[in-house]
Symmetry: C2
């Protein structure tokens, strides 16, 4: 194979520009490694006039994405537009139908429509790859699909939204409340246009759904995720956690259980000394636990021009080298449709609640927990001056189902003000 | 492709047994992921009678490795015998010559003969892969060759010998001298038959030479490595390092410079809070720095049945899926032969020496350093009762060449007893 691999780049934002820059800077190196040149033949983006700091004159320009996907001189559509439906999906479908390969960084599109797209790819003999959709520059899709292909995967977990980890780290280090750090992150341009995608755990949830599909041979099922964002994590939760040797992370966990596939994206306590606990700032971490490999930890930048473009190039170079892999590591039609389960894997929980300071209030809460079969590891009522007493409870290992029953019952005691914060303490 | 991939397993020690166990336990899962069955047709090992706890009756037995490599019903030779030359190499050569693929965990063979073997593989249209040769279960060969294929690699570094890291960690945690922990490790069976391979840095050096070849597109050149073992690291070095916020690790570093390829395997100081500094016990870590990806950190078990077998399966599954990669990420004949260079990358150094306690001794040492253009960051003469004064010096950034000149000159001052310990402080 010495004929060039011809790319059509859809989208010239941060990542698209990064991809073009790598291909322009490292043409010779890439050709050497791939055994053939990797070229760009055409590009498409919203504005042709915008100065992106890279020469684009050698490439054909298409105003319309679908036209780009249809060009005879494009072997691979590199889709870097984003959006779960709309033009990105239309262009991907068009390219696959024509037997062209597709490389994408589009987590939302794949989390919601990955099954149909993977089936379309396979029907046409094309490949659809998405290393850049999960955890930026960390080659975690490859590690899971290929590097650990001999393992039954026990658990996949990780910190996969750099903005949330930045916010939580900054709250801890500067001792600032959530609202203040959120505003800071917003003014720095760290948040998506709809910040709920970040702080609500949706963006990270998309990524987890994709890793879970590969890990467990199941159809991607974003709707089956239990998602909780970081909006309710208070600075006092971070402080209490630190006092007990933990850090709070927006943690994604996927695990197959007898009841079905558990997929959770939620703020959790992890040991401060663990690799996940030590992860600071916007860095991402993916942890894969295989039955043979044991725990494999992968860490790197989760976003940004260079790292994400590096991941796009990983897929492009695979295709250039002739590597043909199924989207989720096995034929799409063979992926199982499994039911989603609430976590039945027991864990200790951290609870923080506000009690109305009257005799017997604490006893009522303790009784509710006891009735649900949940035993208390530690309990502490904080100093307070007003009529409301902040109470902190760490339970022994219990299931989320038992905990939810207890939380429901607590709400009926009449001694609690507002909803408690309940965070899982994850063993990592 | 639905015809089975047929393996011949050479060697049924820990790793070989692990590979057989995975294939027996997960036959269906592997077939699902590969799109075809992965089968063992024949095995070879020293003793046919030994009970390995796995049924071998379904496989043909070959007493001779080369016969195994010649069988018509073997598509892939899985070489898990070890030894840089001898039967392992003969069998690999035989298999490649016959156009069979070879998967190996043999770091010594590849570090010393990888170039010739890779050329033989390519001449025959066969592939030769070695994920299990570097850092056990961590899919670092794949990450570097494929996941980061779009990057110009700036530096590859890591802790790649679990035994050394165990010894250094145990010294620090138990406050025990090197000799005592070495004896302990030996009695626990953690050391190779020739312990120099471990504590002398040779085993880790083999691994670094392989990663460097991929990273920089150069012929593997183990002889070009500057290797220093951990034998001279004393408990007081570990304590002094800790006082300054560092940990001592047997660190491999490969870096391309204007003067040539720098490959070092030596005990270094790394910040205690960095991922490398936090690495405890027998765990391995590989850090890859790409121009686009930034720093990617990979961590996992560096040895043992499961992890190493998992890495063997990574290569086997690639082959089963039809992935055909060059051994070192580009055609072997295109790999450059570059000259080795002493590190010209400046760094601060930690020096510990014993001075004869007489007036002007310390001044003489300081003068020598000054004459070599090396400035001192801190210097401390320890309390002592005898006529010998332990002295600790941390330099500002300097080159190894300047430092070696200074160390030579120090030896001529007549105020020093024995050789100083000189450890690089690596920025990670």
């Amino acid at each position: 194979m010495t004929n060039p691999l011809r790319l059509g780049i859809a989208g010239l934002g941060t990542v698209g520009t990064g991809v073009v820059r790598i291909i322009q800077t490292h043409a010779e190196m890439l050709a050497q490694r791939a055994g053939r040149p990797v070229e760009i033949t055409a590009v498409s983006a919203r504005s042709k006039e915008k100065d992106r700091g890279i020469p684009l004159g050698d490439y054909a320009w298409e105003d319309d994405l679908v036209d780009l996907a249809s060009r005879d001189d494009v072997d691979v559509l590199v889709e870097l537009i984003g959006g779960d439906a709309g033009p990105a999906k239309q262009a991907a479908e068009k390219a696959l139908l024509a037997g062209k390969d597709v490389v994408t960084a589009n987590k939302a599109m794949l989390a919601l429509h990955g099954q149909a797209l993977a089936e379309a790819a396979e029907a046409a003999g094309a490949v659809l790859r998405f290393e850049a959709a999960v955890a930026g520059g960390i080659p975690c899709v490859k590690a899971l699909t290929e590097g650990l292909a001999g393992n039954e995967i026990k658990r996949v977990l990780g910190v996969m939204n750099g903005t949330c980890n930045y916010i939580l780290t900054r709250m801890e280090q500067a001792g600032l409340p959530y609202e203040e750090v959120f505003a800071e992150a917003e003014s720095l341009g760290y948040l998506e246009a709809d910040p709920t995608l970040d702080v609500g755990g949706i963006d990270a949830g998309h990524k987890l759904a994709l890793l879970a599909a590969i890990a467990f041979g199941t159809q991607p099922n974003f709707d089956g995720l239990a998602i909780e964002g970081i909006e309710r994590v208070a600075i006092e939760d971070i402080r209490h956690a630190a006092d007990m040797g933990f850090r709070i992370k927006l943690l994604g966990v996927a695990q197959m259980t007898g009841r079905g596939l558990v997929q959770r994206m939620s703020p959790c306590l992890v040991p401060a000394g663990s690799p996940l606990g030590q992860l600071q700032g916007a860095t991402n971490m993916v942890v894969i636990e295989g039955d043979a490999s044991g725990q494999i930890v992968l860490r790197g930048a989760g976003a940004g021009e260079g790292p994400t473009a590096s991941a796009v190039l990983s897929d492009v170079m695979d295709i250039a080298r002739g590597t043909r892999l199924s989207t989720f590591g096995q034929p799409a039609i063979a992926l199982r449709k499994v039911r989603s389960a609430m976590s039945s894997v027991p864990a200790p929980y951290y609870l923080r609640m506000t009690l109305i300071d009257k005799p017997g209030a604490l006893a009522k809460i303790a009784t509710v927990l006891g009735d649900a079969g949940i035993s208390i590891d530690r309990m502490r009522q904080m100093d307070h001056e007003e009529a409301l007493a902040p109470v902190l409870i760490v339970t022994h290992r219990t299931t989320r189902i038992a905990l939810d029953e207890a939380l429901d019952a607590m709400a009926g005691t009449g001694v609690m003000q507002g909803d408690p914060v309940a965070l899982r303490i994850e063993a990592v």
